[in-house]
Every structure is written in structure tokens, then in C-alpha cells.
């Protein structure tokens, strides 16, 4: 698999989803396409998916019979584990799974409506989702617990957590970071998508979180800062993280407007969290997709 073509495919599929659903988290997919592509193509050591290409319909939330569908099964059985924390990136994950052949493209249409598993805010029955973490700053802490358990049980493999920069505003994130470093965990790494935008607008204006690198280092983590839309930079940083004796955070500076021109206009107007297309944007997006 070629990471460049996987990244392009993620953008295209997410744009088509947004047109079809008349809305979606397109900027998140566009900003993080290179991260997902590099992780799946060049970093993660995953065994084949144990789930079907077309997911079954929703059966139940977890219950005492434990017969619910587990989104984790699309990621196989290790040794590595990829944990998506911001659940509104679910679309990105679904599109990435299609791009790498773990999900049928038809599922993006047939399974994204009522009763389907490809929910807008992904849950742990959704393909590729390990933790229901629609409430931000949830999945990192759960992953730290899993990393601690794997250390106790001496289980190989790395846990890679995808975090969004908005989650750095939540206190639970920092509690989990201090727990991981205090336990000297080497089997967990974080990739932070720093796109600088939250629902109300620019993070720098609303609730600044910089200096991110210094903060991670102060919490006992190794921190690497890169251009998060540069495939090679991501690959090298992940390699360095794997070889580090400390838990490592890769701070990815990303451009959430990358790929479609109307997104840049939205970025300039501070409205880039959830995309509800205007008619003009819709026509622009359709013509840009056709010219790809």
C-alpha cells in the first residue's frame, strides 16, 4: 500500500460522504489524512481484520451476554493497537479502512444511516473503533490502562493513540499523561493532530494550549514536533517513537483545509469544525472532486 494514494483516497471518500450526508467532519479527515495513511501503510503492525467487509447491523450496546459487535475486530488481533480518541473523526477512520481494504466502500453509504454501525460520532461497535470516546479525553486514559496491563502481562506490541489538540484543554488528558510517564510505559505513543480549530473557532483565541511540546516534556513524555501533512516526516517520527525509552508524543501541525479550496475560506472565517455545505460550497466541492 502506498501512503500517498491512501491519503488521497481518504480525502476523496470523506468529501463524497459530506456531499451525500449534506454535512460531516470533512476538515478533520483532510487535516489528518497523511497521519492515518502513514500509520496504516508504514507504522502499525496489525494482523488481518476478523470482521466482515460489510458490517452487520447494530445489535446492542455492551450487555451481560457480551454478544455485541466489537469495532476493534476490524484492526485484527495485534500485536499493535490503534486507538482513535476523538470519535468525531469516525468518518476519517471508516474512509481509511476502506482505503486500506478492511471495509467495503459500499458500507460508507449502506451502513451510515439509522441502524448502521458507521455512526457519525463513532462508538466501540463502529468499525476500527476501540473505545466509545465521543466525550473527549476518554480514549487516552483507557489506552494507558491497557498499556499498563500489557506491561504487567508482558504482552508485546505498541499502542498508538490518535489525539486531537482540543483534548489538551481537558484535565483528564493530563491525568492520563502523568499516569503513563509515572508508570514508565514504553508501549504507548500518541499522535496529536494539532489543527488549531475547535467548535467556536481558533483555539489560540478561545483557550490557548501552547506550548504543547514543552507541556508534554514537562509531563515526562518525549515530544517530537513535525509537519503533520508530510508523509515522510510522520514515518520517521513514528520510527523514533518506537525506539524511544519514554512514551512519545508526536505533535503534528496539520492544515485542516488541505485538499479543497472552500475549506481554506472556512478556516479564514474561523468556522471549520462541522461542515454543513452551502449550495455554493457544494457545487465547488463537486467540481473539485471531478477534476481530481
Amino acid at each position: 500500500m502506498n501512503s500517498g494514494s491512501v491519503a488521497s483516497e481518504i480525502r476523496l471518500l470523506a468529501a463524497e460522504w459530506t456531499i451525500r450526508a449534506n454535512g460531516g467532519y470533512l476538515a478533520q479527515a483532510c487535516g489528518s489524512a497523511e497521519i492515518f495513511a502513514t500509520l496504516y501503510c508504514d507504522v502499525l503492525d496489525l494482523s488481518p481484520s476478523t470482521a466482515p467487509l460489510i458490517p452487520p447491523k447494530f445489535e446492542s450496546v455492551p450487555n451481560s451476554f457480551r454478544n455485541e459487535i466489537r469495532g476493534e475486530s476490524w484492526l485484527g488481533e495485534g500485536p499493535d493497537l490503534f486507538v482513535l480518541s476523538p470519535a468525531h473523526y469516525g468518518t476519517t477512520q471508516y474512509c481509511a479502512l476502506v482505503a486500506i481494504g478492511r471495509l467495503d466502500k459500499k458500507a460508507l453509504t449502506s451502513e451510515s444511516g439509522d441502524g448502521g454501525l458507521l455512526e457519525l460520532i463513532a462508538a466501540e461497535h463502529s468499525p476500527g473503533i476501540v473505545v466509545s470516546s465521543g466525550s473527549l479525553a476518554t480514549a487516552l486514559g483507557v489506552s494507558v490502562g491497557r498499556a499498563m496491563a500489557r506491561k504487567i502481562k508482558n504482552i508485546p506490541g505498541n499502542i498508538w493513540v490518535f489525539l486531537s489538540d482540543g483534548e489538551l484543554q481537558e484535565g483528564a488528558t493530563w491525568e492520563s499523561l502523568q499516569l503513563a510517564s509515572s508508570q514508565r510505559l514504553k508501549n504507548i505513543n500518541i499522535i496529536v493532530d494539532v489543527n488549531g480549530m475547535q467548535v467556536d473557532g481558533r483555539m489560540a483565541q478561545l483557550m490557548p494550549i501552547e506550548p504543547i511540546v514543552d507541556k508534554f516534556e514537562a509531563f515526562g513524555w518525549n515530544a517530537i514536533e513535525i509537519d503533520g501533512n508530510n508523509l515522510e516526516a510522520i514515518r520517521i517520527a513514528c520510527l523514533a517513537a518506537k525506539n524511544s525509552n519514554l512514551p512519545t508524543a508526536i505533535i503534528c501541525r496539520t492544515k485542516p483545509w488541505l485538499g479543497f479550496s472552500f475549506l481554506k475560506n472556512r478556516w479564514d472565517n474561523n468556522k471549520l469544525h462541522f461542515i454543513r455545505l452551502t449550495e455554493d460550497e457544494r457545487q465547488d466541492l463537486i467540481s473539485e472532486i471531478k477534476s481530481l
Binding site: 450496546v61 455492551p62 450487555n63 451481560s64 457480551r66 466501540e124 473505545v131 466509545s132 470516546s133 466525550s135 479525553a137 476518554t138 487516552l140 486514559g141 483507557v142 489506552s143 494507558v144 490502562g145 491497557r146 498499556a147 499498563m148 496491563a149 500489557r150 504487567i152 502481562k153 504482552i155 484535565g171 483528564a172 493530563w174 491525568e175 492520563s176 502523568q178 499516569l179 509515572s182 508508570q183
Partner: protein, 332 residues
């Protein structure tokens, strides 16, 4: 006089950890305070000090359980349940994971005031789908509850007692099973937790006068009730609930839900009545919030159509107390 057992949970936890190698204990700086210190020194590899950071701690419990371990988190009930409530709801109760949450310092048993008194913990846990909710009443409960819930596939919250705990029961704890202490089918007292010793003493003292006065101790608040309990409730004319918790969301509320479906006896609720509470000795607080033996006696008399004259002459004695909770190191 009941025999007092010192730190019944501490030794039970070590025994449990000896038998079950997949048990890990995680604490938030209250290790000795919650009787996990013996486990910590016996099994250092399966003990995690996660600091005063309950949100991150509970998330980690979820992760530990997802990898096949059985995590136990003993803390003060306010810190077990209130502070990391969302994390418990979304990452432990929702995925139905076998996590064991222990909440010490129930209700008014601590002089710590509003921050330390868990008056809503049962309610918070009871309303979560998948969660089993238990309250220990004596040393036998604290010794046997951890083994008693081991096979449960989902999460369990246990409202717990520590330090000097009276032994009231011989039979080990069993999930869902009510403990009938006195049979009696006219006026039935239902009690949970630390108030059970007082309820036994009070009811026993009145049995000569009211020979159809019954007493049942309830350990399992959710799922609520077994057939023996439901049969006893159905026969009674008056049911009096006695709890060290808000009546809106504790034993009284569970009993009221049952009576709403199967109407019958009049319900009298003794407990904390829609108020936050303040700090002081256990005896003072029980008296101040009218959850003490005197109140129980009055309600029993009233249920039998009699009036018991008030005797409130012990306020002066209480006011002279200085040392709060001498039984534990930090006085809480």
C-alpha cells in the same frame, strides 16, 4: 455486644489476590486509608499508585479490564463515584467491564463534611445500566463481598466499611440475597449498611412489645430484592426504610419503585431528606439528621398507632465531644 473485627477488608483483599492472579489494585493516595496497604506490600507488581487523579485512574481501570485483568479501586466513596462519574458511566458501566469499585466513608460515617460524606453514591451508581450496587453492613460482608462478586461479568460498586467493624452475620455475603434478621409481618424495617447494628439493637428491644415487628438487612441495592424480601414487603402493613443516604435515590427510592408496581404497605423513609450535610461526629450527625435509634423507635411506635415521647437529653453530652473518629489514623 457484637464482636469487633479490625480492618476486615485488608486481609480479605490479600486472600483474594492470593487466589486470583488477575486481580490488580489501583489507589488514589488513600491506600492505607482504604485498607489496601497489605495488598500493596504483598503484591507490589499488581498494585498501582495512580495519584490524586480519579478521572485518569478510572479510565485506566477500563483499560486494565479490557486486557483481561480484574481491577479493584478502593477509595473514599465521594472520590470513587462523584469525581470520575462520567468516566465510570462511559468506560466501565457502558462496556460492562468487571471492575470493582469500593466506596468507603459512606454517608455520615465521616466527620469530613460535604466534601467527604457520600450521601449520593448509591444513587449515582444505581442509575447506571449494567452496574450492580452493594452495601456492606458488617465485618462478614467486608470479608466476603470481594469473593462473592468475583464471577460477575460486569461492574460492581460496593459501599464499604473500614477500621473497627462489628460482626453481625455468620453467613457469607451473597449477591441479591436479603438477610432476614427478625421475622415479622405487620411492621417491617428495611435497613442497609452501617445502620444495621443499631437497627438490630432497636428492633430487638421492641420485640417483646411488638412481636410481629420484622427486620431485614439489604446488601444488594441493585438489582433490588429477592423473593423472600418481596414476600415480606407484600405481607406488611407498614414498611420503614432506614438508610445512611439520600432517600430520593437510595433504599427508600428502590422500595418505592417496588411499591409503585405492587402497591400495599405504607412507606416510611428514614434517611437524609434532600439536604447536604455538615461535619461532626457520627452520633451527632445521625441525631441531627434524625436517622438515629430514637427516630427509628418513634416511627415503629407510630406505625403501631402509638406515640413515643421524645427524649433529647443527650445533646449536651454530644456537644462536649472533641475528638472525631478516634478509630482511624487521619480522623476521617
Amino acid at each position: 455486644m457484637n464482636k469487633i473485627i479490625v480492618k476486615p477488608f485488608a486481609s480479605a483483599l490479600v486472600k483474594h489476590g492470593t487466589v486470583h492472579k488477575n486481580v490488580v489494585v489501583v489507589t488514589n493516595d488513600l491506600t492505607a486509608s482504604c485498607e489496601a496497604d497489605e495488598f500493596a506490600s504483598t503484591f507490589p507488581d499488581r498494585f498501582i499508585s495512580a495519584g490524586m487523579a480519579e478521572q485518569g485512574l478510572v479510565l485506566a481501570l477500563s483499560g486494565l479490564a479490557r486486557e483481561g485483568l480484574i481491577p479493584i479501586f478502593p477509595s473514599f466513596a465521594v472520590f470513587t463515584t462523584r469525581r470520575p462519574y462520567e468516566q465510570i458511566a462511559l468506560t466501565i458501566a457502558y462496556p460492562n467491564l468487571p471492575v470493582r469499585l469500593f466506596g468507603f466513608l459512606p454517608g455520615l460515617t465521616t466527620p469530613g463534611g460535604v466534601s467527604h460524606q457520600a450521601i449520593d453514591d448509591i444513587g449515582l451508581m444505581k442509575q447506571l445500566p449494567n452496574m450492580t450496587v452493594i452495601e456492606a453492613a458488617d465485618a462478614t460482608d467486608m470479608e466476603t463481598v470481594i469473593d462473592g462478586v468475583f464471577d460477575m461479568p460486569g461492574p460492581v460498586y460496593m459501599r464499604s466499611l473500614r477500621g473497627m467493624v462489628p460482626r453481625l452475620f455468620k453467613e457469607p455475603f451473597e449477591v441479591g440475597k436479603s438477610r432476614e434478621i427478625f421475622a415479622g409481618d405487620r411492621v417491617l424495617v428495611l435497613v442497609t449498611g452501617a445502620l444495621t447494628a443499631m437497627a438490630i439493637e432497636t428492633v430487638e428491644s421492641l420485640r417483646a412489645e411488638f412481636n410481629d415487628l420484622g427486620l431485614i438487612c439489604i446488601n444488594t441495592l441493585k438489582p433490588f430484592g429477592d423473593q423472600a424480601l418481596f414476600a415480606a414487603i407484600a405481607k406488611a402493613k407498614v414498611v420503614i426504610t432506614l438508610e445512611n443516604h439520600l432517600v430520593e435515590s437510595g433504599l427508600a427510592s428502590a422500595t418505592a419503585m417496588r411499591l409503585a408496581k405492587f402497591p400495599g404497605p405504607t412507606l416510611v423513609t428514614i434517611g437524609i431528606q434532600d439536604t447536604f450535610t455538615h461535619g461532626g461526629s457520627y452520633e451527632y450527625l445521625l441525631k441531627y439528621y434524625a436517622i438515629d435509634a430514637n427516630r427509628l423507635k418513634k416511627e415503629i411506635f407510630y406505625a403501631y398507632g402509638k406515640f413515643l415521647a421524645s427524649k433529647d437529653d443527650d445533646w449536651d453530652l454530644l456537644a462536649k465531644r472533641i475528638e472525631l473518629n478516634a478509630n482511624v489514623a487521619e480522623g476521617l
